[in-house]
Symmetry: C2
Subunit: 143 residues, 2 copies
DNA sequence: CCGAATCCTTTTCGATACTG
DNA sequence: CAGTATCGAAAAGGATTCGG
């Protein structure tokens, strides 16, 4: 009975999120008491998700990542990789070759993030048609 | 056997994400073929998640939302609400009172987003300690 | 009470040039 | 190859003012 299960899942999610919201509100949204904003902060930036996806299947070297994500600049790639390494979501291994090569791979913690990320991606694909239609309707009403 | 189930879930997620990445790469990351970036774009901005959480438990009026999220400006609240309304994630109902009041509530589509959002929030809370520790270690190594 | 419009500050991002 | 440094453009965000 998928309807019932979905209903329960929704109630649970709704309760979980609104309860957390109330708690953070009590604490005036102190980052210490509000892990989500702190932890998920980097996921919001432009390239993080794409990099994590590129590394989901296999480890890659710096220039392989550049080729995999053609429109990223060296600067942004470096910066985003640093942040992810700092958070422990990926590890950086330098091979002492000439010229040097550096390989990036997801840590177990980084891989554990793939699970909720895949849920979200799946939701996005599912909702895409509805959202596109809603946008058209909205834009049509006001020129 | 939770270990096995987690393992399978991880494999599935990894495959799903890396496959999607490959597909988008083939299409040069055309937004038409890459719904996630398009759909999830607004979720990345500073206030969207907080607003959705504030509305998860109950509908609220504009000024109630301002009080619920003390450090948001009127401008940003208006703008973020507009984007969410445009995407069909929430609905806006005007009551013809004096002075006017406007109520915002999640649509079914908006509520369906709560489910993956709750997963992600749960992951963030779970990973918070690891990430904090990783950051300390990283920062300690380089002054 | 709700929100549009304006102005200004801060942050983010990208192009370029340079190093081991 | 894998970065760092610097600079300027662009976008996001905030404060303020005004109007229905």
């Amino acid at each position: 009975m998928p309807g019932l299960r979905e209903g329960n899942l929704l109630s649970t999610s709704r309760l979980a999120l609104s309860t957390r919201f109330d708690e953070w509100q009590q604490g005036a949204f102190d980052p210490e008491l509000c892990p989500v904003r702190d932890v998920l902060g980097h996921l919001r930036d432009k390239w993080t998700t794409l990099i994590l996806m590129a590394l989901a299947g296999q480890p890659r070297r710096f220039s392989q990542l550049r080729r995999a994500i053609p429109d990223i600049s060296k600067r942004m790639l470096t910066q985003t990789l640093r942040n992810l390494e700092r958070d422990g979501l990926l590890s950086r291994q330098v091979f002492p070759t000439r010229p040097p090569s550096v390989e990036y791979r997801l840590t177990p913690l980084g891989e554990s993030l793939l699970v909720p990320m895949a849920h979200l991606a799946s939701w996005a694909e599912h909702a895409h048609a509805d959202i596109t239609e809603s946008r058209s309707r909205f834009d049509a009403d006001r020129p």
